[in-house]
Symmetry: D2
Subunit: 283 residues, 4 copies
């Protein structure tokens, strides 16, 4: 049995006593802090904190009370969640399946604090596999219709499943900024290069052409500017002159899988704060 | 100008309210926390904390007062230092010079919060280089005398220079446990393998013999059990069948330099707590 | 369409003219070398070569002719294969499934030059998953019978499927040296530590206990000495004091998957020569 | 004593029999190949080879004879050198000294198959250190004169010292394409980012601004297009939100040192062929 805890993520203008006030509020309740980590951006003078504690009273009530306290007394932007709460996740895919299988298997192996609520794809290629995994699959093709109405349909699906996080496992379509606004939930994308190098659709070809000696993958939150969102995690691997573009693609698949999974796990464990188009990752 | 801060390292049995009490003590003084990081060992039920703050009053006095408070009221093992305090460091070497040059150059480039007070060696090989760097060099050979009297001489040198940290840059002698006790200061050693693999004096030969595909280096605190002390930092690099023992030694030198320097920096930045023959590293 | 090539792996005592004689044999046939790589162990005075070429005549006949030539005229231990030949592979598993899923998905994505002929397990846990993947599954439990008769049954299965490579994806049983001899094919195992550190069955617990800062995985050929066979590939990842044993296991799973797959791919691409309990890997 | 060998680097249009003809030429002389490695670019249909052998006759004469053979009979671009030949290297620096000290110490520790013939700088900052190392130092300031005449002076120095390789250890000036042409020798530069990301003069600031999670360093041959030359080697390290720009610079220094040294070593060991603005590195 997983121990029930409350996790709070706070950020806002720095002021003296923030750590003392937050921890005293918890202590005075008779609750006990398990982890507390904070960060200060000295240039922006912004304070960030992640604190996790074992509640003494009713968890939901204590979580709400802390949020009210942190917002009114500390003037902090505050998100409070229970660690036992499984966030609903929507997985977007096209035809490429390595991140698809990898992330689903990780959810099914309980590596992730969340639940895969649905799969949405513009192709039918992975429909059968989705069925085998027992996850609802929605086919929303772009073929004979305008993008706006497809996105409207997708938004309906997100709503129906109470989705709290969208993850793009090599989904080969750009989400409109209208979609991102209406969805109102974070979207994590995996890009197959070490951004900002090789943005765009053919990074392995560009890497081969340029003759780089490393390739990489980048997980980031999607925003309206393609490949420009806050970076969550990156990793790279060495390549050499013997590697063809096919080799780069194959080696890159391993990076994409592990980088994508790592970023999704960090998010579901409530370890990421976004500020100023950058991430603070409490790992 | 470096901002003056107080750094406290605490550890002891966990109890509710430790974060609240420590941070409130600081807040009530009118001081302001810059960084606070804590860790709990759930199996041993031990609490660890590193907290760094800008003092409101006289730094030395406030540091002493916090130490008294943390020991008496929180019952914590407590070390408190000022970040502006430069620890005196003694560098032990033999003939091998790569870590010797590397660490001295890092001190001279102000990468380290400390001061190289003296160099002690059982050989004269690096005497001239030490002079060029402007650091006192002591030659304490083992040739015609017993180990105990050489170590007694070395202890005198440490005392004379008020040494607070000993670092062994490929010093090819084993320090007796009597020496370690009498020195009464931490000793950091660099071992040329990824411990616990290949303990002992010829790790690259052993690695070559076994046919491993990675080699490594380990920085650890020295204790009476050779190569068994608490590990601070480790790193590795890939090797292949083309690499001779000479190649392993050459590649290993780069690892030794960076791993050694990283561990010394962490120590001098007061980021390490030792417990149960392991390290908690607040980085 | 994959271009058909012949791949030869040679090793034996060094002598002048080996490269010239082998390449001239190929050239005089009107065939053309695509890749040639050689290595000399200067201490053992042993020559190793991997050469791959486009045959001018019937591939099988030319392969046989080269083998006869290299053995009789060059006195080399010689293995010759066609790159289009898909080796039959038997996958041994118990209950742990991360390497199981990962390696099967890689075969199904055509990342591997081989064919998964059958799955053999001492448990039924993965029977259903094997069926979904469409691969014959054999349940050979050790419960009520002696090891020898179970192994005899397993040998029959290998024979029936003409298996040329056995891969152990966290198979929790030790293969007897009698089994290894009778199987007569290479066996690749994945061990969940950076050998030679932490041999045995509980490496993550040992790593946690020792307080190391890196964990690793090792793929090696199995021989009669447990965890002592020739190492094919190793990789590691950094850990810290916050990581519990569960975290080590989770992080280790990613290493195990990628290290295991890499080693199996190298083997199936005919890139590995074993000599003196070490591997020469032409990558 | 280092065994004397001849090293040949060849490239040109692929044709059948290249390996056979080159190795037979060597064998028929009674010489013996130590290492031979080749590569084929399947798209460009270009063949690359590095072959190293122990000559049977006078090394210089045999080297010349092979070059004549390879150029006339094989129609290959050919470079032939003796492994005992120490190339003269000119080191360009400004004020930044970490790569300066590191590379000099490596030359003095015999890690490099070459000789540091001279140091050229637009500043006097490292003059004293150069003297301590015993290497001629030339001060060629840009202050009161035009770039062309300073470069002319530098070209004279290169000529005087018979320089065969120029290495730029964080030299903060751009070499004109006129200088590069007239120098007529390869120039290796270390850039403090993982190119093509963050070209230009302030990569660590750009990396901080963008919020990347890795930083890197790139060694490349300099050409007229700044930061666009053929990449020799790259490496990266992880960073996090706690790292300030100062931390990035400090961590980056370690990368720059090791990446720069690695590239210079590869070049001096005659392991690099340049083709089509990319490198083939026989390592």
């Amino acid at each position: 049995m997983k121990k029930e805890t409350i996790i709070a993520l706070l950020h806002g203008p720095d002021q003296p006593g923030l750590v003392a006030k937050a921890s005293s509020w918890i202590f005075e309740r008779g609750s006990n802090i398990d982890h507390a980590d904070q960060h200060k951006d000295p240039e922006a003078n912004v304070f960030f904190q992640r604190v996790e504690w074992v509640p003494s009273g009713d968890p939901e009530h204590e979580a709400d009370a802390f949020k009210a306290f942190a917002e009114s007394s500390l003037k902090m932007n505050t998100k409070v969640v229970l660690n036992t709460k499984k966030q609903k996740v929507a997985l977007f895919v096209s035809k490429i399946d390595h991140c698809f299988h990898d992330i689903i298997l990780r959810f099914q192996a309980n590596e992730m604090s969340g639940e895969l609520a649905c799969i949405i794809s513009n192709h039918k290629a992975l429909k059968k596999a989705a069925k085998t995994y027992g996850i609802p699959f929605y086919h929303t093709p772009f073929d004979n219709t305008d993008k706006a109405s497809v996105e409207a349909e997708q938004l309906e699906i997100l709503k129906k499943h109470s989705v709290e996080l969208v993850i793009l496992a090599r989904y080969m379509q750009i989400l409109s900024s209208d979609f991102l606004n209406k969805a109102g939930v974070p979207v994590i994308n995996i890009h197959h290069s070490f951004l900002p190098a090789f943005a765009g659709g053919k990074p392995y070809h560009q890497a081969y052409e340029r003759g780089v000696k490393i390739i990489g993958a980048t997980a980031h939150y999607a925003n309206a500017d393609l490949d420009e969102g806050p970076i969550i995690y990156q990793d790279v691997t060495q390549i050499n002159h013997r590697n063809t573009i096919s080799d780069l693609i194959r080696k890159g698949k391993d990076l994409e899988k592990s980088v994508f999974a790592h970023a999704v796990r960090l998010h579901l464990n409530n370890r990421i704060l976004v500020y100023n188009n950058k991430t603070v990752v409490f790992d």
